[in-house]
């Protein structure tokens, strides 16, 4: 015991000594502080690299970006957080993706920083801030473009059959009939993974029962799955599948390998419900089609549904969070403020992202595709509620089981009733 106490005393003394030295050396000379920033590796990291350069010029600390390859990002982060070798600032999806870190007291609450700088707080669209909040406390700052789920369609195919994009659920059902008669798959679906199928259920539950249905589930009440809106939505999914809305081999189509986007671009499928990144994917894969043949609308309204048809689902944004015991906490918090700077927002737009800051509207003309950027920006800006993807909103232990059940529903391995029971049984 005595030894422990002695050790602790030494540790405290050393820490104080370090602080004293740091103070003594005078604010400006703290250039040896490094700030480790973890980023999900993709082509958009250039925006954060720009932010790091600007930050390093004006600050004593030196921020360094570690790019972690996408597929293993969550695993690597988990391991480094668990082993005590965590980054100071790191990229995440908000919601359930950071909840367990918050519960283990590993994240820094950002409320004080927000209160001290209301201008910073108000620079983001409120519905987007929400997914960075856990139990009412802000832990994440939006740092990437918004990614709502949008209904994309092939304009040429619609002209061919003389149809208009759907505005209501009745339109959807009618279009399914029209296209199946023409031997065109009405909806492309990358059903090899469940998150693409999840998008359908998210929108249907939101339109049928309103945002409150999932909010109840998200707050930890699995009985929320027994809300009639969930059963109704599951039934609608089955009806769609049975009527051939997704064709008959959607189960082997994968999104990440580009198959789904190719089907839409080549006219094999008429519509595709997908995140806004589908636009840049197509711009990359089939530029001519993306510029001339690609249409996009919001998810149709359901008459009699309780949800606001302006509600949006998807990823409101990605977030930066700060580790609770970061030795360079002040510098880390300071770095977060880069995300609302004009230069940062401009960089995002020029790289095809649609920022989540309220002042971005004027800059959207700088986007490589201003029409689409404006559509997307207004869709998010006007949404009363922006539901974070279910699998990111729920804790991982639940979301894994949920994704499996969703796939079973789509594949006809379970009925809507069995689906609801299975979901309510997940803990």
């Amino acid at each position: 015991m005595a030894a422990m106490r002695a050790a602790r005393a030494i540790a405290v003394a050393t820490a104080l000594g370090v602080v004293a030295t740091a103070c003594g050396s005078g604010g400006g000379a703290a250039g040896d502080e490094t700030l480790d920033v973890w980023m999900y590796q993709d082509s958009l990291v250039v925006v954060q690299q720009g932010a790091v350069e600007r930050f390093n010029e004006g600050s004593g600390a030196q921020a360094v970006i570690t790019e972690v390859p996408g597929d293993s990002y969550q695993d690597k982060l988990r391991t480094s957080m668990g082993s005590g070798d965590q980054p100071d600032v790191f990229f995440n999806w908000g919601g359930g993706s950071i909840r367990s870190y918050v519960e283990a007291d590993m994240l820094l609450p950002l409320d004080d920083m927000m209160e001290a700088d209301p201008e910073f707080q108000e620079s983001f669209i409120p519905s987007v801030m929400e997914a960075g909040r856990i139990d009412g406390v802000q832990y994440g700052v939006p740092m990437r473009g918004t990614q709502p789920v949008i209904l994309f369609y092939n304009e040429e195919l619609f002209e061919q059959v003389g149809a208009e994009p759907p505005e209501t659920w009745e339109d959807v059902l009618a279009l399914v009939e029209t296209f199946t008669q023409e031997d065109i798959t009405p909806f492309v679906l990358a059903g090899a993974t469940a998150w693409t199928e999840q998008m359908w259920l998210q929108y249907l539950v939101d339109r049928n029962g309103g945002a409150e249905v999932f909010q109840r589930i998200q707050s930890g009440d699995p009985e929320g799955w027994r809300d009639p809106a969930v059963l109704e939505s599951a039934q609608m999914v089955r009806d769609l599948v049975d009527s051939g809305a997704f064709g008959d081999n959607y189960g082997s189509v994968s999104y990440t390998e580009g198959a789904a986007s190719a089907l839409l671009a080549q006219g094999e499928g008429a519509m595709h419900l997908m995140g806004s990144w589908e636009y840049s994917t197509l711009l990359d894969q089939a530029p001519e089609f993306a510029e001339d043949g690609l249409g996009y609308v919001a998810f149709p309204a359901i008459s009699g549904g309780e949800g606001d048809p302006a509600n949006v689902v998807g990823n409101p944004a990605n977030y930066f969070s700060v580790s609770a015991d970061s030795p360079v906490e002040d510098a880390a918090v300071d770095f977060l403020k880069q995300t609302s700077s004009d230069a940062y927002v401009r960089d995002m737009i020029e790289n095809g992202e649609v920022p989540t800051t309220t002042n971005a509207a004027d800059l959207l003309d700088l986007s490589p595709s201003p029409d689409f950027a404006t559509f997307q920006y207004e869709m998010v800006q006007n949404a009363p509620h922006f539901q974070l993807s279910w699998d990111q909103a729920l804790p991982p232990s639940v979301s894994e089981g949920m994704l499996t059940e969703i796939q079973k529903l789509f594949n006809g391995q379970s009925t809507p009733e069995q689906f609801v029971d299975a979901m309510a049984g997940l803990q």
């Binding site: 695993d75 988990r78 391991t79 957080m81 668990g82 367990s100 870190y101 283990a104 590993m106 059903g191 090899a192 993974t193 469940a194 064709g247 008959d248 081999n249 959607y250 189960g251 082997s252 189509v253 198959a259 190719a262 089907l263 094999e268 991982p396 232990s397 979301s399 894994e400 089981g401 499996t404 796939q407 079973k408 594949n411 391995q413 379970s414």
Partner: protein
């Protein structure tokens, strides 16, 4: 007093002192490696299986909770059935093919050696590469199957998208990958069979199938046991191909036990529960191979040349 001390006679084998016989010390390096990389981790896994741990902070001791859940989890029950199905299926598909190929390849002609080398190629590829290749080949929209299918009257072949199709693909791909290894074992086994047995049978007028049934098959029984144990334990722990080819899906239709262990542990961050699954797998795989070795008399190393 003289009888109180136990009589200790040094155990010495007939035939002189044990010169050159390795002592226990020689086993020490291997034993240490085994201790650090097998026994201790296994002990940790056993301990973790009694805790609740999400990979952060300290594991919380929860008693037998994970084990109770394991016993009552329908997802696990299905996983066990699928693993058994895969094991039986793999054995039933791979054993006859690799035995016939192996015995055939043991023959003397030159072209056989070349063909045997070609057959061996799949084993040289990594499992991940194999899974990616087959995924591309079976793609229902852009793969070769989509082009060939219509000629064969198959309009839409979505093997990986249908529950039974995906399972069949797993069995097939594992056979494609591992038959070469077992073929090699059987080839080696068949070459050991004395030619005099066949010559005698030929003189007696035994047909080729008879010779195979009455000479080759019994002579190969140790090889069959070796190959079967490898197949069974391999199927029980089969993992990478499932992860890449089907991701355990569609739904849970290819979620075999090792995949579930990964899913619960590294996707759901329920390390305690995943540890319980892992430990079960260790016990079952060990028990199965011990039982197989015991039942077939392989353990006693009875020679195939008895009575010759």
């Amino acid at each position: 007093m003289s009888v109180s001390a136990p009589l200790r006679t040094p155990r010495r084998r007939p035939g002189g002192p044990s010169v050159g016989r390795p002592g226990a010390v020689w086993a020490l390096p291997a034993a240490l490696f085994f201790l650090f990389f097998a026994v201790i981790p296994m002990g940790l896994v056993a301990y973790l299986s009694f805790t609740s741990w999400n990979g952060l902070g300290t594991p919380q001791f929860v008693g037998a909770q994970n084990w109770q859940r394991l016993a009552g989890d329908p997802v696990m029950h299905q996983g066990v059935l699928l693993s058994l199905g895969l094991t039986v299926g793999s054995w039933a598909v791979q054993t006859p093919i690799s035995m016939l190929l192996g015995v055939w390849a043991a023959g003397p002609q030159r072209n056989r050696a070349v063909l045997a080398a070609v057959f061996f190629v799949p084993l040289l590829l990594s499992s991940a590469a194999i899974a990616i290749i087959w995924k591309a080949l079976l793609d229902p929209n852009f793969g070769p199957l989509a082009r060939i299918g219509p000629w064969l009257g198959l309009d839409s072949v979505s093997l990986l998208g249908s529950p039974s199709g995906a399972f069949a693909v797993i069995v097939f791909v594992s056979a494609w990958q591992f038959i070469p290894l077992h073929m090699l074992l059987y080839q080696g086994g068949a070459r050991q069979i004395p030619a005099s047995l066949y010559q005698a049978a030929e003189i007696d007028g035994a047909s080729v199938p008879r010779r195979f049934l009455h000479i080759t098959l019994p002579q190969l029984r140790n090889t069959i046991t070796t190959s079967s144990v490898l197949m069974v334990v391999g199927s029980l722990t089969y993992f990478e191909t499932v992860l890449i080819l089907t991701g355990g899906g569609p739904g849970t239709s290819t979620s075999i036990v090792p995949y579930l262990m990964y899913r619960f542990g590294f996707m759901g961050y329920e390390m305690g529960y995943a540890s319980a699954i892992a430990f079960t797998l260790v016990i079952v795989a060990t028990a199965v191979s011990l039982v197989m070795v015991r039942l077939t008399g392989f353990g006693s190393m009875r020679s195939t040349r008895e009575g010759m």
